[in-house]
């Protein structure tokens, strides 16, 4: 099968944007800044034929080769990867979920450290993104802006009469900026306050999405908050406001946890204890359940219920047990049933001795 692939060097390194060290990564897990751009005088990817898209990919590739930040990384057309490796890149958030299809002319350039990338022909001609651990939007913005400035030297972008950038999605028009923070909000979910937070954030121009929602259930209690439009405010302003809103949500989350511990301690301890029991002793566990249990385990770790577990390690485990990462570890593709067994074994081993190995290291 997929014994080796061009993206292996990336997979052998730990996921940098999930690394510990950020004291603020307790609730805000990671930050991302994305900039959408399109080449002047060209059809957007939606209406462009495969040869036209390939021509855009070639032009962007040329501009990328002049960027020191990207020229020692990985550059690849998605169609040259098999589906498993395309999924791996999506699980690592290096490409958008829509790129897993591997349509002709879609491609990606990834920095050596694996914390920034330039996607090509994914809805827009160019999508530059930078990821950081914790709530460090300013750092992500700095990285993304540097890439943007470098690329702009070799590429001319489509603009409206008022010089605003034109993008495939109207809501991105203007600056093309989408700034987002990934939040772990078990306290607000358990306390039933999450809907209020979604509404309140909405009223100040930010949308909160469940990262892993399936069939209406919010698995993993992971939420992404992002600016809804890129039209009015400047990039710095948007990022500053988002940071302020995230700070407030984090405060609400801390309060919700305190309140829960105060009023219903057994409800919290039971949730965490059951999660530990299942993760430590189960012989098969699905992805969705693993996410839910790991969320509870992380909550317990952050409430100091375990001496040998820490939040960031648990978050990296979330990635390690995701379907494509597990299959890469196995060395072949397989169905959900076998994956459930492998996932459970990995979790059992890790919980037997959490300090023995970093689950988020190699796949």
């Amino acid at each position: 099968m997929d014994a080796s692939s061009p993206i292996d060097p990336l997979l052998e390194r730990p996921v940098r944007w999930l690394q510990p060290g950020a004291s603020d990564s307790r609730i805000a897990i990671s930050s991302r800044v994305r900039l959408a751009r399109n080449l002047a005088g060209q059809l957007f990817p939606l209406r462009a034929s495969p040869p036209l898209r390939r021509a855009v990919l070639a032009r962007v590739s040329e501009a990328v080769s002049a960027l020191p930040a990207l020229n020692d990384g990985i550059g690849i057309e998605m169609a040259d990867l098999d589906e498993l490796h395309r999924r791996l890149l999506a699980e690592r958030r290096m490409v958008g979920a829509g790129m897993v299809a591997g349509e002709p002319g879609t491609g990606v350039f990834i920095s050596r450290a694996g914390d920034s990338s330039v996607m090509v022909n994914h809805e827009d001609h160019v999508r530059i993104q930078a990821l950081t651990p914790g709530c460090r939007l300013a750092a992500a913005w700095k990285t993304a802006r540097r890439l943007d400035e470098g690329l702009a030297e070799g590429l001319e972008y489509a603009r409206g009469d008022d010089t605003r950038l034109l993008t495939a999605r109207p809501r991105d028009a203007g600056s093309g900026l989408r700034a987002s923070v990934l939040l772990h909000l078990p306290g607000l979910c358990l306390g039933g306050q999450i809907a209020g937070v979604v509404r309140a954030a909405g009223s100040v121009g930010f949308e909160v999405d469940n990262l892993l929602q399936r069939e209406g259930a919010d698995h993993g209690k992971l939420f992404q908050i992002a600016n809804r439009t890129a039209g009015a405010a400047s990039e710095e302003e948007t990022i500053e406001r988002l940071g302020a809103v995230v700070e407030q949500i984090a405060e609400h989350e801390e309060n919700a946890r305190k309140l829960l511990l105060d009023r219903e301690p057994n409800r919290v301890f039971d949730l965490v204890g059951r999660a530990y029991g299942v993760l430590r002793y189960a012989y098969r566990i699905g992805y969705d359940e693993a996410l839910d249990r790991l969320s509870a385990l992380r909550l317990g770790a952050e409430l100091s219920m375990f001496s040998n577990l820490d939040g960031p390690a648990i978050t990296r485990l979330v990635m390690a047990v995701s379907p494509a990462h597990l299959q890469k570890r196995l060395g072949r593709r397989t169905g959900d049933e076998e994956l459930a067994g492998i996932r459970a074994r990995l979790l059992r081993q890790w919980l037997r001795d959490p300090e023995a190995g970093d689950p988020g290291g190699e796949p």
Partner: protein, 175 residues
């Protein structure tokens, strides 16, 4: 499938329809936008039906949704890339720079969606209603209508209240 009328991105899985005096209005929204705009099925179960009626009216007025307008939007076509309004409303993606002018009515370019209100404390938005006595009477009647499950009457009352409120605000507006 079609995408949400509000964000033009996620699939619309909630479809809300209202009929007052034979005039139909429909909204197609995704769960995220529905939650934000208080259009969730939950709102229908709870006591916030009045709020729901308001949210719907606001959005319906904003988006100008009715079947005639629907057909007009669907028929729009970009002269450069040939993308139609119907196609845009399927997936929320534009095909080329010219689409911005050609398909503008589909995504409400004149709508102030770009506005990021000034950041304030995260408090649920409150309605600035009941400023005047006449309004309050109507509001009471509206609440009673909702309680009695007379939704058509409630929708009419809501529209009357909004008209009053609009005239009140336009009087106060300082240029």
């Amino acid at each position: 499938m079609r995408v949400c009328d509000l964000c033009h991105e996620k699939p619309a899985t909630i479809h809300v329809q209202e009929s007052v005096h034979g005039r139909e209005r429909t909204l197609h929204v995704c769960p995220t936008c529905a939650a934000r705009e208080k259009l969730t099925p939950k709102a229908l179960d709870s006591l916030s039906l009045t709020e729901f009626l308001y949210s719907f009216a606001d959005l319906a007025a904003e988006l100008g949704e009715d079947s005639e307008r629907d057909a007009e939007l669907d028929a729009l076509e970009c002269p450069t890339c040939g993308l139609t309004g119907a196609q845009f409303r399927e997936h929320g993606l534009l095909g080329c720079p010219s689409c911005y002018a050609a398909l503008a009515p589909c995504f409400g370019a004149d709508r102030p969606t770009g506005g990021l209100p000034l950041p304030g404390p995260l408090a649920p938005p409150e309605r600035d209603a009941e400023a005047r006595r006449g309004l309050r009477d109507l509001q009471d009647e509206l609440d009673r209508a909702v309680e009695a499950e007379n939704y058509e009457r409630a929708a009419i009352l809501r529209d009357e209240i909004q008209e009053l409120q609009q005239s009140a605000t336009s009087e106060n507006e300082v240029d």
